[in-house]
Assembly symmetry: C2
Homo-oligomer: 198 residues x 2
């Protein structure tokens, strides 16, 4: 993967409590920061909007020191279920990229959208449905190029329990493989086709 | 424990990479947010200042929506080793509280400081040195009263692997027990005694 060149790249992961959203964000942040040498801020917020078992985590990656650490207008939104899409889609940049778990999100507009069945891949290719977070992380890494696969693998070694490392690594690669089939250049430039007409 | 009443309370945990600093911050944030009903932001940053195996995580807890999510001037600094103290002490509020792992930090000024041997307690009372993060979290919870022990326990159940839950819970209680012996009212009002003279 190429090193990132964009000044500031904002990512938001959203899903439900048990989907490992925060862990995926921490692995991404640590890889992009410690191993790839970027400035990175990784945040989760709790409050009335985060009730009801919803989970949300943000990663801001930059070549420069980061002034504001929140992903207010994400360049990429990963929605791991329908509620996560519904709640967070309005914040996505108009030229951002929406990535959804196609196994769990079915009502999305056509536009700059990548739908991959992360949970199904985790179940079928990795044997563990809860590894969907790492499948999604692999896909996000490949689609954004903001973090190296090598950095992610090194972080997994340092961060996850030894006995789950192989499984997590497998999930990561399954996500990269799934994302390789996506032709980003064939997508519209705007996540919401209506914006393009303006 | 009483619910927190302060408008905004900033906490920074600092230590080395393997000490579970980020996990402790996540458990604190989730407990204070999801279970105790506060607004909470939890952040870790990576950059040149975080190299060399240093780990840092921040938690901001508030009764109101949080505008700026970083702990720029912490009310409490937990330093789990000497380097963490040296680097982060200058940021601590003058009336803040410094909590250090007495097993690993030996050069600190006299002042508004609590020194508890978290690592030693984790080794002797819990049987696992790496549980020092949860011992420290228990102590921080007791000393600050910003989060309920019940919330922390519920979060542990949801967040850590089932087989380590009992151990983590034991570590948490060992930290509370150690902190109970501290008489905060006997401490000077300022973390740096020189500030008090001004």
């Amino acid at each position: 993967m190429k090193p990132m060149t964009k000044d500031r790249y904002e990512i938001r992961f959203a899903g439900s409590g048990g989907q490992g959203i925060i862990m995926a964000a921490i692995v991404l942040a640590e890889a992009a920061g410690v191993y790839d040498g970027n400035y990175v801020c990784q945040t989760q917020s709790y409050g009335p909007e985060a009730r009801g078992g919803n989970s949300r985590a943000e990663v801001v990656i930059s070549k420069e020191a980061i002034d504001y650490p929140r992903a207010v207008q994400p360049d990429l939104l990963l929605a791991m279920n329908q509620a996560a899409y519904d709640t967070n889609f309005p914040d996505l940049k108009s030229e951002g990229l929406l990535v959804v778990d196609a196994s769990l999100v079915d009502q999305v507009p056509t536009g700059r959208i990548v739908a991959i069945s992360f949970t199904k891949i985790a179940r079928k290719d990795v044997g563990k449905e809860f590894a969907a977070n790492m499948v999604a992380l692999g896909a996000v890494a490949y689609l954004t190029q903001v973090v190296s696969l090598k950095g992610l693998e090194k972080t997994l070694t340092a961060r996850v329990p030894e006995k789950t490392e192989k499984m997590n690594r497998k999930a990561l690669h399954a996500g990269v493989k799934a994302a390789r089939k996506v032709d980003l250049s064939a997508l519209p430039h705007f996540v919401n086709p209506e914006d393009e007409e303006v």
